[in-house]
């Protein structure tokens, strides 16, 4: 059992633009021809190793594998794994590598998938590592943008909320900078601004236009995409800071009054208060469709990672 040719997805930057385009193409084809894919993974097993709780990501991975005809096993919290007994991640992964054909892993520690990929001899898909990366959410976002707008170029994208710890934000920015004429409006309280390394090494390096602001309403009329995020309680060490910042932005009908008619409102979910439920009725609300798309792009990704493997 060797791992030299194992196809992992740790970071969205691991994928070329062509690979992303191909995944979107396959996902779109799956949406149109579900039956044609129903037995593509017969006899294959996906291990979902979730050391941190998740609803959407874990269930969408499991749904994706089941829809491809495969089977799933795994755990949904660290407490129900041998991690609770003090086992290292490396040992857990080496063991599970013998039980399944592919692993989707979420871990609260940043960089954990790199450790996993080094030990595993089956493909590892990063299903989120702390506040660091969440590449399959980004693929979901790209599929959603591409389906709603018909393009991944020429877009003004508002990113709103926790831009500091929001891993979906970091991955989305890293992915979008490769497309032409992308402009970002970075909307956050000053405590939750995009980290400096993202500004310097991703936006500035790629000569991407951006504006940092704490005023959502001011730029609403310019946006093609408004990507809302939750202020994540689990990323704060200080309860007081969390309480102060958690309801900083609440998107409601009134704030949308100046927005474009074809604005696409996205959110990786779960939401708490940052999008009022009255917005759900608005045709521009795309977040549930975004969650459904997560299954199809993960199906495409599983197929890609298992391609050519016995």
């Amino acid at each position: 059992m060797r791992k030299e040719n194992t196809r992992n997805l740790i970071d969205i930057r691991d994928l070329s633009t062509k690979e992303i385009d191909d995944l979107i193409k396959v996902a779109n084809d799956i949406i149109l021809h579900k039956e044609a894919y129903a037995h593509k993974c017969d006899g294959k097993i996906l291990a979902t190793l979730f050391f941190e709780p998740s609803t959407r990501t874990r269930l969408s991975f499991e749904s994706a594998m089941l829809r491809l005809g495969g089977k799933v096993l795994g755990f949904s919290e660290a407490a129900s794994s041998s991690t609770a007994k003090g086992e290292t991640l490396a040992d857990t992964i080496e063991t599970v590598s013998g039980y399944a054909d592919i692993i989707a892993m979420r871990h609260p520690k940043e960089g954990a998938p790199i450790v996993a990929a080094k030990k595993s001899f089956i493909p590892i898909i990063n299903a989120g590592d702390g506040g660091h990366n969440h590449p399959t959410q980004t693929l979901t976002d790209l599929l959603t943008i591409s389906r709603k707008k018909g393009r991944l170029e020429n877009l003004t994208i508002g990113l709103c909320g926790d831009l500091k710890f929001g891993r979906t934000i970091h991955s989305l920015i890293s992915a979008m900078v490769r497309y032409k004429n992308i402009k970002f409006i970075l909307i956050s309280p000053k405590e939750l601004r995009l980290p400096e390394y993202m500004i310097k090494e991703v936006l500035d390096k790629n000569k991407i236009e951006y504006i940092e602001t704490d005023n959502m309403e001011k730029y609403m009329k310019d946006l093609d995409i408004l990507y809302m995020t939750r202020v994540q309680k689990e990323r704060f060490f200080n309860e007081e800071d969390y309480m102060r910042l958690k309801d900083y932005y609440i998107l409601d009908k009134k704030k949308l009054s100046t927005a474009k008619e074809d604005l696409c409102i996205m959110h990786p979910l779960p939401r708490v208060n940052e999008i009022a439920t009255e917005v759900d009725e608005d045709e521009r609300a795309t977040y549930f469709e975004q969650a459904y798309n997560g299954v199809y792009i993960r199906m495409a990704l599983i197929l890609k990672c298992l391609e050519g493997r016995k």
Binding site: L89, P108, E110, G111, I114
Partner: protein
């Protein structure tokens, strides 16, 4: 001030004032049983003032550690009272087990038997990032 010349060993020269003590600590020179001289603020034609370290034994030294602290330093290897090699240093592309990641959310904070690895991501500004979590390395956050 007179410091004995060394027969076999190293002279780490042209160290930016203030850095010699960091190199001394990082190389664990206090653990050696040979003569070690640490000179600070010595006069220098090139640098006005400089630090230098003399080590009276040919031990294994990790040049990456010295280069990380002070890439402008030079390392002279002395054998039989003669300098046989002058090593110019350059900022290492990767640091392994020299510094530790300060991010409490990094996998290196909990996983045992994991090398602490940092990659040079910005040569001009000498920025290193953790191989795992990509946090910026805080200068002088050395492994004990």
């Amino acid at each position: 001030m007179n410091i004995d010349t060394i027969k076999d060993g190293y002279v780490i020269d042209h160290i930016t004032p203030g850095n010699a003590i960091k190199i001394y600590r990082l190389l664990n020179l206090d653990k050696l049983d040979c003569q070690v001289a640490l000179i600070t603020n010595a006069k220098s034609k090139k640098m006005k003032t400089k630090d230098l370290i003399k080590i009276g034994k040919l031990i294994d030294i990790n040049l990456d550690k010295i280069a990380y602290i002070d890439p402008k330093a030079t390392v002279n290897i002395v054998k039989e009272d003669k300098i046989i090699e002058k090593k110019k240093l350059k900022l290492p592309e990767t640091l392994v087990n020299v510094c530790k990641c300060n991010n409490p959310r990094c996998i290196t904070s909990t996983e045992r038997n994991l090398n602490q690895i940092f990659n040079l991501t910005n040569k001009k500004e000498q920025i290193y990032r953790c191989h795992y979590c990509e946090s910026t390395l805080e200068k002088d956050h050395f492994i004990d």
